[in-house]
Amino acid sequence: MATVETRAVTKSFDGSNAVDAVDLLVKEGEFLVFLGPSGSGKTTLLRMIAGLEAPTSGDILIGDKVVTQMPPRARNIAMVFQSYALYPHMSVFKNIAFPLDAQGMHRDETRKKVEWAAGLFGIQRLLQRKPRQLSGGERQRVALARAVVREPVVFLLDEPLSNLDAKLRTSARDELQQFQRRLGTTTIYVTHDQVEAMGLGDRIAVLNNGRIHQLGTPQEVYDDPADIFVATFIGAPPMNLVESEGIVTGFRPEHFLPHEIYHGDQDVTRFPFKVTRVEYLGSDRLVYGILEQPFPAAHVISRLPSNVSVAVRKDEHHEFVVRNRDLRYFDRASGKRATPPSRTTPP
């Protein structure tokens, strides 16, 4: 168990920065998720922590020790790859034993450790098989067992669930979190899937263009996005944005509801709204529409849970409201959070 720290870590490829002066401190035993679209630099940052890429500048510390110049094997980390990267010519047993062989561990000791790691993931009966004889889910467990077996101080996971089908992914997510809690090993997890990030992470680092836009708990990142990128990247459908006078007002679709829902005593902002489309999704209805005067004609979405029975049809005009405490304001020029404007809200 150890902390992981990056100090102004930068990686340039052909003059542009894939990772741009990232400062980050991962706490001991924490499950931290790097979340970002493809090309955001999240995998490059992870590979630099692993030692598979050398930073152009900056320092990386694991357990308060500078490891920037050290090869991966000296860092006592383990990594699970998106492709799992199992050694195809070795049996499952030899795959899991491989990191121990590299340490020169005694054979009996190795056997014991491999059986312990295989037991953690319920793959004891697969030990004699070759990777090609395994299903996707089994391969993923073998990759995890290989990572766990030598008890590293940090786990690095690069989209380990993205090759699994949707159903398996849900149960694998659950198991992954349980085993991380049990071992209490500092873990960094890279994903582009916000559901995975929200569900797994103690904290989430939202990356774009090589920079960390926000670092916070899932709740902070969702409820209090630091800027417009985070507000629109997280949440599906994303936060609605309405721009006027250099200020962007944002509100989540699930907070944008017909005025009938709220009692008169609540502090709300009213948005007259023309419905253009309604999607029925079973547990929710998604209502698409365009705001009307006095607001600019912005496209917005409302998500109505199935227990809201107000009838909403295409081409109707409705008055939807958002509680004022659910409104977020951003500066249009910088994209950053701004203080609420002092104007009086329309009645």
């Binding site: 590979r47 195809p88 690095l156």
Partner: protein, 308 residues
């Protein structure tokens, strides 16, 4: 009228081309004719000759059974040629595989001037073999040898050291092996390079994270994963070397005292230059079961080592 006839002909042609049965046969025909005429027929002819008393000077031949085989088995030169062929093949192929592997590993990395190194290494494979070997003949020349003059100039050879590369038995074998390695190295390197680049980078990264150093990485990960394709390279090399006589013919003609005589060159000297077609055919056919065995062995090993 004429237009109608043309249209009918076009239709007939189209029907023929669209007929998979005939089209398939048509497209296969060149390859089949080629193999039958230039491989199958000579092969059968060789078997026939080896069981007869055919000579270059006579137009008649008689069936003599296995007499020719018995004769060559009694001939010490045949056994020496067989031994030489095995030494020549084994030593040169061990060198080729090791060197090709090293070269391929080097060329798999990025470094400045890589294209030049790659160009120089691949050069031998584009020059006609016989021309390249004639170049080597000059390099090994007893009077002009650039090796001898060069090494003397930098002081490695003293005034009394002057090896005759192709004239001293052990040196002659070493020389032909060296030329054979030079000739086969490019092909083996390219094949192994293809094998190396087919290993996903993730596997190498995983091994690096799992904590292995260079040697363990090489012997536990890289070599096992390129093994199937390395065996294919080795198969090519063994077959090419075992059946080759160009290097021997140009450099030494089997000399001195048959110390570089191999089966292929011995068959040529006996059958064509010596005029004894029957014995020559018998000697060259001796290669056939050996090569079939080698090919079967390697292909089985390659399949077993196959991983994906």
């Amino acid at each position: 009228m004429i237009a109608g006839a043309d249209a009918a002909r076009t239709r007939g042609l189209r029907r023929f081309i669209d007929n998979e049965r005939w089209l398939g046969r048509l497209l296969l025909a060149p390859a089949v004719i080629y193999i039958v005429a230039l491989v199958g027929f000579p092969f059968l002819l060789a078997i026939y000759y080896s069981l007869s008393d055919a000579t270059v000077g006579s137009r008649t031949l008689h069936f003599v059974g296995l007499r020719n085989y018995g004769q060559i088995m009694d001939n010490p030169t045949f056994w020496e040629s067989l031994r030489n062929a095995i030494v020549f093949t084994l030593v040169s192929q061990v060198l080729v595989v090791v060197l090709a592997k090293i070269l391929a590993l080097a060329l798999n990395r990025n470094f400045r001037g890589k294209w030049l190194v790659r160009f120089l290494i691949l050069l031998p494979s584009v020059a006609p073999i016989s021309l390249g070997v004639i170049g080597w003949l000059w390099i090994f020349d007893p009077v002009y040898s650039i090796i001898n003059w060069g090494l003397r100039a930098i002081g490695v050879f003293g005034p009394n050291t002057w090896p005759i590369w192709l004239g001293q038995p052990n040196l002659a074998m070493a020389s032909v092996i060296m030329v054979d390695v030079w000739r086969l190295l490019p092909l083996a390197t390219v094949i192994i390079l293809a094998g190396l680049s087919s290993i996903p980078q993730d596997i190498h990264d995983a091994a690096a994270v799992d904590g292995v150093g260079f040697w363990r990485h090489l012997f536990r990960i890289t070599i096992p994963l390129v093994m199937p394709i390395m065996l294919v390279a080795l198969l090519f090399g063994v077959v090419f070397t075992f059946t080759d006589m160009i290097v021997i013919f140009v450099l030494t003609r089997g000399g001195p005292y048959d110390t570089t005589q191999v089966l292929a060159s011995y068959a040529f000297f006996t059958g064509i230059q010596g005029g004894n077609l029957a014995d020559g055919a018998a000697i060259s056919l001796f290669l056939f079961p050996v090569l079939v065995g080698v090919a079967a062995l390697f292909l089985t090993m390659a399949r077993r080592a196959e991983v994906t």
